[in-house]
Amino acid sequence: MSTQLATNTPAAPPSYEIPKIARFGSLGVVAILMVAFPVVFSNPTVTTIGVFAMIYLVSVTGWNIFSGYSGYIALGHAVFFGIGQYATAMLASYWNITPGWQTFLLIPVSMVLAGIAAVPIGFMLLRVRKHTFIVLTIALMFIFQLFAYNFRSWTGGSQGLEMTPPSWSGDIFNMPFYYVGLGLSVIALLTSWVVRRSKFGLGLLAIRDDEDRARSLGIKTTQTKLIAFVISAVFLGAAGALYAPFVGSVYPQFSFDPAFDLSLAVMAFTGGLGTLLGPSVGALVIASAQQYFLLTFGGANVFLIVYGVLFILILRLLPGGVVPALSMQWQHHVVRRERRKLESEPQQEGVAKQ
């Protein structure tokens, strides 16, 4: 009997993951669509929406590397977004950079500056645990907004700083911003993927699940959190450096904007907090919707209402986000398929033995 059972062992266990062909195929289709998007829809209004979607895509992917993987929800990453914007605007005038392709050279500089700023900030904030951390990040954002208002000689105070937009013609004006944004998004997603698959990323996930236990298992929690914090800040700095020359001006209330922080959280939660692609899906859908609403209704208030309601619904109905819900559906599908197989198999064996 026992030998028979051993020979009867089933083949490899069923894979609960979506098949590779489907995954890479859909990724490829999305990639082609993203590259072709501004060529196909060359209307400047549409491509403007595309550029904003890219800026949010970079931001939310960076945000997710820290907040999604470690479970520390940061509601103050506008600080680094703002640092990127102010650094770009200030350096562009300080170094007399002529508006054009050269402006994009400031992106790596802003990334470095945002990363440097993130070290002491992260060191201070990460001394406290989750809920106090959320509140501290909010306070920090207001500190930076007040700094931007108060250091008039550098930041221009409430007058803000102007950036001369590049002299590209209106039809193709958005294109360079779009493709630079797309490139940054790819870099951010690759970084997120590498982090997720590394030992370092596993440490972050362990912190999310149980920080004290992770620590007792030998993970240097403070160091791990700080590194992730800096990585995420770097991408927010990049997004800011892309945003400032695109919009053409930098103001304290828009650079350090509480609504921006909320947007990142809503996007990540909608798509799936802590997953690789979930936040990107959220960013593409919500950022486009946001810009569309702004262009159609003019004021931000209608969008605030939609936002609030949407966020409440997501938290109530899909607390895990859309992407995990979809992959859960797939797993249910696999389980059902396997069960059907198992139900039909024993009958066949029984027939054969008789």
Partner: protein, 290 residues
């Protein structure tokens, strides 16, 4: 003399912040909920008082008899429909839910009242008492007295009634409280309703002493959170002390240095204190270490 005047105003305005921070910290203590929407709810209370004042011509203090019940019911509704169903990761999920509620309220207020600044009017709003060379603006004094009265009531309820005992039990140990037969859901709902009902009073005070619009909520919530963190989450006494302390510091800095640095100092103190004592001035270490 200028500094004495600044200290006085800091104390008077601090009363309002102490009342609001007490509500915030009680709600946190009972159910681990950071009521992030309190700023938006205070502004909502201010707009309700403003509307009653403009359309029914009632005195702002009388308008409270209309606005407080409305806000209390709203508080119950928020608890029942949004907070109670949350099952997992309550701290973070409830904070985000309240954030969403705040956004929704801000959007509705901005849509209904536009973003122009308004202020609640009353005939005596610019009157003031002069005592020993110090200037006591009447509305600040009245607001302070009202806040102090409500805080005293809050203490009475918390320490001298059966509900207060259930409340403190739920704060100390929710599981044990449930085991001895306390309906912690009911206690939580009532606590949140009280906290939000007090936002109606806070709103009236805020609306008579400041010009406000829907976006004022950000300034309020950030200050209140700073006060509550500084006092230590869950510590009512800490909230009172740090509210008065912070407002006095802010007003003195505004007078001595410059008004633009007043609010910055406010946040800088927070960072400095937390570097030394991450649990806040009066918080207990380890109790809320999660």
């Amino acid at each position: 003399m200028l500094i004495a005047q600044a200290v006085l105003e800091g104390v008077l305005v601090g009363g309002f912040y102490a009342l609001m921070a007490a509500g915030l910290t009680l709600v946190f203590g009972v159910m681990d909920i950071v009521n992030f929407a309190i700023g938006a709810l205070i502004v909502l209370g201010a707009y309700l008082s403003y509307t009653v004042n403009v359309h029914l011509h009632l005195d702002p203090f009388v308008s409270l008899f209309i606005t407080t019940p409305i806000m209390t019911v709203l508080g119950f509704a928020i608890y029942w429909f949004l907070i109670k169903p949350i099952k997992t990761d309550r701290v973070v999920m409830s904070l985000l839910t309240m954030f969403a509620v705040a956004t929704l309220i801000e959007g509705v207020l901005d849509l209904t009242f536009n973003s122009g600044l308004v202020q609640i009017h009353a005939s005596y709003i610019n009157n003031s008492l002069k005592i020993g060379g110090l200037n006591f603006p009447l509305i600040y004094v009245l607001s302070f007295l009202l806040s102090a009265f409500l805080l005293a009531m809050l203490f009475l309820v918390t320490y001298r009634t059966k509900f207060g005992r259930s409340l403190r039990a739920s704060m100390q140990n929710p599981v044990a409280a449930r085991l001895v037969g306390i309906n912690t859901d009911k206690v939580s709902g009532i606590t949140l309703a009280i906290g939000i009902g007090m936002a109606a009073v806070g709103g009236m005070i805020f609306g008579t002493t400041n010009a406000f619009n829907a976006a004022s909520s950000y300034d309020l919530i950030s200050r209140l959170l700073v006060i509550v963190i500084l006092g230590g989450f869950g510590s009512v006494g800490g909230a009172l002390v740090s509210a008065i302390f912070m407002l006095v510091v802010q007003d003195v800095v505004s007078v001595v240095w410059s008004p633009v640095w007043g609010s910055t100092t406010f946040y800088v103190i927070l960072i400095v204190v937390l570097l030394v004592r991450p649990q806040g001035l009066f918080g207990k270490k380890g109790v809320r270490a999660q």
